[in-house]
């Protein structure tokens, strides 16, 4: 089923990342960005395993980021971790609210409704200047982390360690969720939701729970990014950002939680390479990569177990038309 991930490989990767961040200060932001995008893509992966793609999930990154900003501005001296936690709580709450009705939708309508909601939020964030700082966003003071006030370099390194530990821990927990009863029901939603109902399981309620989890993951990504930049803008919730999260989730593959991070790493590396060698043609490179991946390996880097071509499964009602 899933490619067994060797703990040694993970440990090695973690050490490499830490070493790079320590030795090369310029690498800290790209690494943190890649880790956050990985977390966000992981949120998308949760839903993709149930066959649902949301085109508006970046809205939870915006919710997480703005909540973090509000917390720091409203409570001077608040710890960065507490502010980020506020961000996650806000996105979980928003996700729960939306999950209640969005979990009844499937396919393109699920995607469209999420997009619509995210654009409502994006537009409001840009317009309600008094609360959100408008299109320029909200700036806030760099908060202390675990009680220690830090200057920029230290802060970035500390955020890197934070993001890395969260990424590893959360990826492990989400993978456990994938293997759990609920996680396996999510997979079954993609292949035969009707049969799930017929064995007494509520696809809607399991999907709703998965949705809340995915909102929290994207919200955490948004909170961390806002924290490290000391800034949150409406852009963090724009539809293009949602598209990038989907892109990374597809690139990495939904077979294993680590896929999202592999996809994010490739994404960030391409951006860096393009900035270094092709000056601002990074979108061309990324676009071409996405097309190539979808054509040759739609199951992504992690790949999924080879599925035999799906035989047509007419619904029980359609069968009677014979």
């Amino acid at each position: 089923m899933r490619t067994p991930i060797s703990p040694v490989a993970v440990a090695l990767a973690v050490l490499l990342v830490l070493a790079a961040g320590w030795a090369w200060p310029w690498s800290r932001m790209p690494i943190i960005t890649f880790l956050c995008f990985g977390l966000a893509a992981l949120g998308l992966t949760v839903l993709m395993r149930a066959g649902q793609v949301s085109f508006g999930h970046a809205m939870y990154a915006a919710v997480g980021g703005y909540a973090t900003a509000f917390a720091v501005r409203a409570f001077p001296g608040i710890d960065g971790l507490a502010a980020a936690a506020a961000g996650v709580l806000a996105s979980l709450a928003a996700g729960a609210l939306v999950a209640a009705f969005v979990s009844r939708y499937r396919g393109i309508f699920f995607g469209m409704l999420n997009l619509g909601l995210s654009m409502v939020l994006f537009s409001l964030a840009g317009k309600l200047y008094a609360w959100t700082g408008g299109t320029d966003g909200l700036r806030f003071e760099r908060p202390p982390l675990l009680g220690v006030a830090m200057e920029r370099g230290q802060f970035e390194l500390a955020m890197l360690v934070l993001a890395l530990s969260l990424a590893v821990g959360i990826a492990w927990m989400v993978q456990r969720y994938f293997d759990s009863c609920a996680g396996q029901v999510m997979l079954a939603i993609r292949t035969n939701e009707t049969r799930l109902e017929y064995i007494g399981l509520s696809a809607r309620s399991v999907l709703a729970q998965g949705y809340v989890l995915s909102a929290g993951l994207v919200g955490l990504a948004g909170a961390l990014l806002a924290l490290v930049q000391s800034l949150v803008t409406p852009e963090s919730g724009y539809w293009i950002r949602s598209g990038e999260y989907v892109f990374i989730a597809i690139l990495g593959g939904s077979g294993h939680a680590i896929g999202a991070f592999l996809g994010a790493a490739v994404f960030e590396l391409i951006k860096l390479a393009a900035a270094a060698w092709f000056t601002d043609a990074w979108q061309i490179l990324l676009g071409a990569t996405l097309i190539a991946v979808i054509f040759f390996a739609p199951q992504g880097i992690v790949g999924w177990r080879r599925r035999a071509p799906k035989p047509a499964q007419p619904t029980p009602a359609a069968q009677e038309a014979r």
Binding site: R106, G116, A281, W282, I284, L286, G287, L290, I294, P298
Partner: protein, 301 residues
């Protein structure tokens, strides 16, 4: 709110609706024919506008005839949009036509990303516009407010002609009826001798030209900057999602609804102006997921 304001809002709303419909027409056509949401439609809009501006800039030293200049907008749109649309279908999308619609959408998203960079490389980041072309068509005074004829009459007029033209094409021309046949059943159409592949390219060329036309006609009114295409695609998507994917007449009605809602907001709650299309879209999707005008009943589990 007094009657004057209401009338002004109506006029404003209808003219915005005309522009919105024109831009959404190509998008909904592709949805209806191919079942694909073409994110790159936003790029077609942008390329249409930028190319039209370039063509105008090239023509202006040679002629100051308004009809020629206005016609050049159409020419730019037809050539650039038609070629780009056809190229997109033939070289790329055709190879993904049997894939999951979400993957097809992502391919068009990738194309959009590529074209955004191409656009920036060709035209740069400084705002591009079409000078005073819009003012050449004169103004009309209505209820004490001066409107540009270009915005008030010309664009909605073109939108209506495009609508009527498309309906005529689909119902009464051979090519149009072939398109409809392919929409309904690709395999049967092929069995009847219709070259489905050629029809596909033709439809994309048509939709591309329409999308580019939306941009070409907008450039006399709006400055074109990077990011405008992204804004346009998501707004026109709101229109067609409200109407029902693939519904052409529905898109006209939805454009009017959204245009009116937006202009009413401008006069009452200005902060909600930009939110209106998306509020409408969400409201409709919550009640009728398939859109206001589609035949299928809401499919929920």
């Amino acid at each position: 709110m007094d009657l004057n304001l209401l009338l002004l809002a109506t006029v404003d709303g209808l003219s915005y609706a005309g522009s919105l419909f024109l831009i959404s027409l190509g998008l909904t056509l592709i949805c209806g024919v191919f079942g694909v949401i073409n994110v790159a439609h936003g790029s077609l809009y942008a390329f249409g506008g930028y190319s039209a501006a370039s063509l105008l800039a090239w023509l202006l030293p040679h002629t100051s005839s308004t009809p020629v200049l206005v016609a050049s907008l159409f020419v730019a749109a037809a050539v650039v949009g038609g070629c780009l649309g056809a190229l997109l279908e033939r070289s790329l999308l055709r190879h993904f036509q049997d894939r999951d619609p979400v993957l097809q959408l992502l391919v068009t998203f990738a194309v959009f990303m590529v074209l955004e960079d191409v656009q920036r490389m060709v035209w740069g980041a400084t705002p591009v516009n079409a000078g005073d072309l819009a003012t050449r068509l004169g103004t009309t005074e209505l209820l004490g407010v001066t409107f540009m004829n270009y915005q008030l009459l010309f664009i909605p007029g073109v939108a209506l002609v495009a609508y009527a033209g498309l309906q005529l094409l689909l119902r009464h021309s051979t090519a149009g009826r072939q398109i409809v046949a392919v929409i309904h059943h690709r395999e049967v159409a092929t069995a009847l001798g219709i070259n489905a592949a050629r029809i596909g390219t033709l439809t994309f060329a048509l939709a591309g030209a329409l999308g580019a036309l939306g941009g070409a006609l907008s450039v006399p009114m709006t400055s074109f900057v990077p990011g405008l295409g992204a804004e346009m695609i998501v707004t026109s998507f709101a229109v067609i999602a409200t109407a029902g994917l693939g519904q052409v007449t529905g898109a006209l009605v939805a454009a009017v609804l959204i245009g009116m809602a937006r202009s009413l907001a401008v006069y009452t709650l200005p902060e909600l102006e930009v939110v209106m299309p998306y509020l409408m879209m969400v409201a409709v999707l919550l009640v009728r997921p398939h859109g206001l005008f589609s035949a299928t009943a809401a499919r929920r589990i």
